[in-house]
């Protein structure tokens, strides 16, 4: 036995004696994880969170969470001698006087932007592939809560340097709080320790930013990942992949090397961006003062959609009733919008369950085209989000393209309702079209681009048959159909209100559909080919076949 083996044996022995390491190794070391690039989006989220913990801890060693007045006498000449807060002065010190401080700040800020972005893209992946279906509904909701907390965490973080831009953000946050009916003024006074801005919000936001939210998020992330282990990872459909297995590579050693390596890749790329691309130059904004503001003030990207919603809401939504002010021009596009988005997102898995009547577990992911209504709804929501986000930059856009800001705003007021609806219809049609294309391919094989002239003069393109494995991907999915009354026998009275709503929902989801090719259809298509070659009446039979396929889909279209 070599020395290394002996040492490893000793460590292993100790670990097993004390924590039962052998059972852990037996249970987890060879756990299988499927491979797909889109599964790395969640990894990016996790790794940027870890990077945020590292860099954030470093920053706390130098940051002073205090609004107390001081005079800046550091290295940045333009601000020398100016009265600033301790928080701002220490943020400048980190940037200008602490070795490696600026890059730590920039890594922290970039990692935060990437963290929220990766969270959103990961959620988009989960939504469009149907990974939120049973048994993962709860994990979807946990993810949704994490996304919201990530936004709050980001906001409290970029408020801490107490510069002019972040102060403007806090001013807006305070107005959002004030707009809450009945208790708004009270929440504001308790949060800010009195009048805005006061001196309390910096230490309070600091505690929320470095302790409260990260602790809650860490706890939720642990549960989120534990559930991934318990459920085992989803996988994309393919030959050999079923609802009852998971196909991929073992945690040890392959995934340890790949996922561990990917952590360093993410960290490396963020460090590169942070080293080369300046972010949040607080010294250029100056210290916070509630009376000046810079034109073109923009929040961090993830707040942009709410800012946009506020910008396009007309002022007359505010009204006075019984002597109280209802600031619906602020409350609806902020607090109410967040609550609506969270509720719609959290309920979605159950809404879809009601439409499908499907209570089975799903571990094979959907190809987005195979769930046209869901994909349409997802693109609708994204379109809404992106339009709000664009509205948040309406001043910048007006300036860039030379349009009137009023025209852009008026256009957006209509567009946020019309374009998402349009996006839904178009996306659903594209999905149905892609499904028809899949049917064609499964039935007649793939186009080769080889044109052959038949003896009687006709030109045809030769189609190469698919392998069994290639075909499987195109035909493996379930075809959901609108629910009939009898399908609901197990779920109680089909004539109850819920039963009626459920049937309507089911029709909305599945009335337009293209079903996957069945073996019988494939056999019929092949049979057609055989005869056509013999009888050399290719054209007419091919037409019939084509008609049949379209008829099927049209029938389902109905």
């Amino acid at each position: 036995m070599s020395t290394i083996d002996k040492a490893a044996g000793g460590v292993g022995n100790f670990a097993d004696d004390t924590v039962g390491a052998s059972k852990i190794v037996n249970g987890f070391a060879r756990k299988i994880f499927p491979d797909h690039w889109s599964f790395m989006l969640g990894e990016i989220t996790l790794y940027s969170f870890v990077i945020l913990l590292f860099t954030g801890t470093f920053l706390t060693f130098f940051y002073e969470p205090s609004a107390a007045h001081t005079v800046y006498n550091g290295d940045y000449a333009p601000l020398a001698g100016q009265g600033v807060s301790e928080a701002y002065a220490s943020s400048l010190r980190i940037s200008f006087d602490v070795r490696g401080g600026l890059i730590m700040r920039q890594v922290h800020h970039w990692a935060a932007l990437i963290f929220v972005a990766a969270t959103v893209v990961h959620m988009i992946r989960v939504f469009f592939t149907g990974a939120f279906r049973k048994p993962r509904e709860i994990n979807w909701v946990i993810g949704l809560v994490l996304a919201l907390l990530a936004v709050f965490e980001g906001f409290t973080g970029y408020s801490l340097p107490d510069d002019l831009l972040s102060g403007t953000g806090i001013r807006i946050a305070q107005a959002i709080i004030l707009s809450v009916p009945v208790v708004g003024s009270y929440i504001s006074f308790f949060l800010f320790g009195g009048e805005y801005p006061g001196e309390d919000f910096i230490p309070r936001f600091f505690t929320i930013h470095i302790l409260l939210l990260p602790a809650v998020m860490l706890g939720l992330i642990v549960v989120h990942l534990a559930l991934v282990v318990i459920h085992k990872h989803t996988q994309y459909p393919g030959p050999g992949r079923t609802e009852d297995n998971v196909v991929g590579f073992p945690l040890f050693p392959v995934y340890m090397a790949k996922a561990g390596g990917f952590f360093f890749i993410v960290f490396g790329v963020i460090a590169l961006i942070a080293g080369l691309v300046q972010i949040n130059p607080i010294w250029a904004y100056g210290p916070y003062d509630p009376s000046p503001v810079t034109a073109g003030s923009q929040p961090d990207w993830y707040m942009g959609w709410l800012d946009g919603a506020v910008r396009i809401t007309p002022g007359w939504w505010e009204f006075t009733l019984f002597g109280f002010t209802f600031s619906m021009n602020i409350f609806i596009p902020t607090t109410a919008l967040i609550l609506f988005v969270m509720a719609a997102g959290a309920l979605y898995p159950w809404i879809e369950q009601a439409a499908t009547g499907d209570r089975r577990e799903h571990h094979l992911l959907d190809r987005p085209r195979n769930a046209p209504t869901r994909t349409g709804l997802g693109v609708m929501a994204l379109t809404f989000y992106v339009l709000l986000w664009i509205s948040g930059g309406n001043d910048v856009i007006a300036h860039m393209v030379g349009l009137s800001i009023n025209d852009i705003t008026r256009f957006m007021r209509v567009a946020v309702f019309v374009l998402p609806a349009l996006a839904f219809v178009v996306t659903k049609r594209i999905c149905l079209g892609l499904q028809r294309k899949d049917r064609e391919k499964a039935l007649h094989g793939r186009e080769t681009g080889r044109i052959v002239r038949l003896p009687h003069g006709e030109f045809i393109e030769v189609h190469a048959p698919l392998s069994e494995a290639e075909r499987w991907v195109l035909v493996q999915h379930d075809a959901n159909r609108p629910m009939d009354v009898e399908d609901r026998l197990d779920a109680g009275n089909p004539n109850s209100l819920y039963g009626k709503v459920q049937r309507r929902l089911s029709r909305f989801y599945f009335e337009d559909r293209v079903e996957p090719v069945t073996p019988a259809e494939l056999a019929a298509a092949h049979h057609g080919h055989d005869t056509e070659i013999e009888s050399q009446e290719h054209a007419s039979i091919e037409e019939k076949q084509g008609d049949a396929a379209i008829a099927t889909s049209q029938k389902y279209h109905g």
């Binding site: 290295d75 080369l276 002022g315 577990e361």
Partner: protein, 343 residues
């Protein structure tokens, strides 16, 4: 098995339904199973494997160099002494961190992809839901336990327990009582009152009405604001814009509250409290840069576009005996964003 039963089973079992139609053709395709493993170069050619090994080692060596580079950048580049040095240091550290971390990561991934086994393996899943027997056992245990606790038999304990559990978190709310004072009327009042002088912001100094030419705009604070304990709180409410227009352009009320066409309006946006910082001299419009609410000074600062609802409150002003501008009263309404009690 009858046709119906089989259909039911297929519905319950899902995609792998094997029910056959009358002709003997299956209704669904069958999963063809995992495709055969295709060997990589490294699996069959020892030289290719050796090459991959050297590539991995090279990447890891680059990472070592990067790590040394970080240390050299931190120690070696003088940080203090100007933006150029800071910027150079930041770039150098960033690049070296990239080489150190990225190469370590790429090395590990390359190792996994070229040299570790790449044949796919299979784990089997188990339904989350327990078997019928397990579920029945669980229900039995819970029933037995609650029978032992006797909650069903002792409603007095059950009800008081619910009450106690519901109430115990409530005091926690009251611990937060001293996080701040009650709002009172502080959202509705500012330090402006009769006789408060207008001073220029940020330079200070009273303003002579006669010095203001047409088209001028001055950022104004109430005199004495810097002596307050928390000047920022007052600045967030009391900032004022002073503009001089042709008196004929103003509304009668507006002109009356001003001095020879010089009018003072709150600078705090009635939408979300940003400073309404942009004044368009030609159109006499005030624009808030945060959400683009636009106010027309010639219409008593009425909102003509954007998400704000209320006009900017006007501060009535007058001149003292020496011609300096002062407030002839405080604001007649609350400035800044709306709140519930504002009315």
């Amino acid at each position: 098995m009858s046709e119906i039963e089989r259909a039911d089973e297929a519905h319950g079992q899902g995609s792998t339904a094997l029910a056959k139609s009358g002709s003997g053709v299956p209704e669904r395709f069958e999963n063809p199973g995992l495709p055969p493993h295709r060997h990589r170069m490294g699996d069959v050619d020892p030289q290719a494997a050796k090459r991959a090994e050297r590539q991995v080692a090279f990447m890891l060596l680059l990472s070592v160099l990067g790590s040394i580079g970080i240390i050299v950048s931190i120690i070696g580049i003088e940080y203090n002494g100007g933006w150029d040095r800071i910027s150079t240091s930041t770039r150098a550290i960033g690049l070296c961190m990239f080489v150190s971390l990225f190469m370590l990561g790429v090395g590990a991934v390359h190792w996994a992809k070229t040299l570790m086994p790449d044949d796919e393996r299979i784990d089997y899943r188990h339904r989350q839901r327990g078997t019928t027997a397990e579920r029945e056992q669980a229900v039995a245990i819970l029933k037995e336990g609650s029978a032992e606790a006797g909650l069903g038999r002792r409603p007095l304990i059950r009800n008081t327990l619910i009450g106690a559990l519901a109430l115990f978190p409530l005091p926690a709310v009251f611990f937060f009582r001293d996080t701040g004072p009650l709002p009172g009327n502080s959202l509705s009042v500012t330090m402006w009152e009769e006789g408060t002088y207008l001073v220029k912001d940020p330079t200070g100094g009273r303003i002579r009405a006669a010095d203001l030419t047409y088209g001028t705009v001055v950022h104004v604070m109430p005199e004495g604001i810097d002596e307050l304990e928390e000047p920022l709180n007052e600045k967030a409410k009391s900032a004022v814009l002073l503009m001089r227009l042709d008196e004929d352009l103003l509304t009668p009320k507006s002109a009356e509250w001003g001095v020879d066409g010089t009018v003072a309006y709150s600078k705090i946006c009635t939408h979300m409290g940003c400073p309404v910082a942009l004044y368009e001299q030609q159109t006499h419009h005030l624009l808030c840069p945060c959400h683009q609410s636009t106010f027309d000074v010639t219409q008593d600062c009425k909102v003509i576009f954007g998400p704000a609802n209320r006009p900017l409150p006007q501060l009535p002003i007058r001149v003292d005996a020496e011609g300096y501008l002062q407030a002839s009263s405080g604001f007649h309404e609350a400035v800044g964003p709306s709140f519930w009690e504002r009315g």
